[in-house]
Amino acid sequence: MIGEKEKNAIIRLFHVYRHYGSKNALIDITLDVFKNEFLFISGPSGAGKTTLLKLLYLGEPVSDGQILIDGMNLSRISRNRIPYLRRNFGIVFQDYKLIKTKTVYENVAIVLEASGVKRRMVQKKVNHVLRTVGMEQRHSAFPPSLSGGEQQRVAIARAIVGDPKIILADEPTGSLDSESASFIFNLLKGVHTRGATVIIATHDKELIKKTGGRVVYLSSGRLETSPYV
């Protein structure tokens, strides 16, 4: 019988494996993530944190096992539905992945444009979110001219502008000084407060300690904590 907690799960992984040739990146991962949860995936570099995030938005396919995102089974999703699956996520990539030839404004706006939002609404939302992350003054700058912290803020603005249900952030404070890190972190907290599920992959123990969300540990591709709360 499905319990209340399972019913409330927005992400469910069942015995998920991912291997590259003979190398196992993830081994038998079973995990539930609940709506509006603030979850840390922790573990040393190379433990499989990034890979695990990639599997969620179909950046890579699972080798074995099943993943459900808000009731959608990823192994049964057709190719042309993948963009719609990805619109459930706001993703903050470890390397930011900003388009170098587009301005800050355009980088953020493209998320809304791609989902067919009207121009006036795009303008309103992008300006608002740039204000939230403190980048409204630099809206016409190009990413290569920004500092790491600024690029990260733009990446977060892009992740949250479409009001996604789930935020995935891969080492969001990894290369930042403590002041920038804490600003970014507060932004993510704010999104969580407004109802999003936030999953952060990090090895920053200080950050985890300060927050106090649920933490799951990955070590050599295996989950070392109980999959459920």
């Binding site: 996520f89 388009i99 587009k102 493209i110 444009e113 989902s115």
Partner: protein, 293 residues
């Protein structure tokens, strides 16, 4: 949304100016070569039709044909399918005509004791029934008549000429097809290069949930702009060349009332549309291959 796609397409063209210019010129040259063929065929076709209008079959009667039979023979010819009229030319008339034509060497004819020329009929054909098979059938039919000695249609070479032109026409289709394919591959290649230069951006767009159609559309606009410009440029060059050549050639080289003409609007627009098709197809091939990854 269309505005956004259009903006992205123009931006791509601007950023890859050299590549796009080369592509447009290549398309223009392909279109130029194909439309030179089209222009040539349209005009030779006109010319052949023009010549065919003058087709007449000359029927020489046997020397023993009596004068009394002439009206009957005339009637017989005129009743034949495809004949508009039959004009009798007596041997005396024929000799007079010949004398007029060779005025300078008239002394050659002065020593003649008797008229060597036969009586003849000039059979003219209805213009619509002047296909080559019909002329041949008619002349065979006439030749089989008992009082007919020989049948001649001076424009026999026109039949051979038509066959040669038809052969050229086939070659034209072949060459057109090859240039079409070459142009498609060139557009495909340009789009592929632009895609490669933007692969990171495309990858990011896909990760943030952009549908393939959102990514593809600007490329289609870009290739349509290229191919339309290429097509118009090619036809423009053809038009300029045509105007220059037409004004020099017309009076000396071509027969009397015949005028060469430029491509009719239907052909002109068909060529522009084919050019756009080239762009669309080239883009389709590249995107299909690139976005599969």
């Amino acid at each position: 949304m269309i505005r956004l796609f259009y903006k992205r397409a123009i931006q791509d063209i601007r950023e890859n100016r050299f590549l796009n210019t080369v592509t447009i010129i290549t398309i223009a040259l392909s279109i130029l070569i194909v439309s030179v063929f089209a222009l040539f065929f349209i005009n030779t076709n006109d010319l052949i039709n023009h010549w065919k209008k003058g087709i007449r079959v000359v029927v020489y009667l046997k020397t023993n044909t009596s004068e009394a039979m002439i009206p009957d023979i005339k009637k017989k010819f005129e009743e034949m399918y495809g004949v508009s009229e039959a004009v009798f030319i007596s041997k005396e008339e024929a000799l007079e005509q010949l004398k007029r034509q060779i005025k300078s060497q008239i002394s050659l004819l002065e020593d003649l004791k008797e008229n060597p020329l036969p009586d003849a009929f000039e059979v003219r054909m209805i213009p619509s029934s002047q296909s080559w098979e019909k002329v041949e059938t008619l002349s065979d039919k006439i030749e089989s008549l008992p009082y007919v000695d020989d049948v001649e249609y001076g424009e026999k070479w026109l039949g051979r000429f038509t066959n040669i032109v038809n052969l050229f026409r086939l070659t034209g289709y072949g060459v057109g097809g090859l240039f079409f394919m070459a142009a498609v591959f060139i557009v495909a290649n340009t789009i592929r290069l632009v895609l490669y230069s933007r692969r990171e951006e495309i990858e990011i767009m896909r990760l943030i949930g952009a549908a393939d159609s959102f990514i593809k559309f600007p490329f289609y606009i870009q290739s349509l702009i290229q191919s339309t410009l290429g097509g118009i440029l090619g036809l423009g060059i053809l038009f300029i060349a045509f105007t220059i050549i037409a004004s020099n050639v017309e009076h000396g080289f071509l027969p009397g009332s015949f005028q060469i003409r430029f491509l009719p609007p239907a052909v002109f627009f068909s060529i522009v549309i084919s050019s756009m098709l080239v762009g669309w197809l080239g883009c389709y091939l590249s995107l299909k291959q690139f976005l599969r990854i």
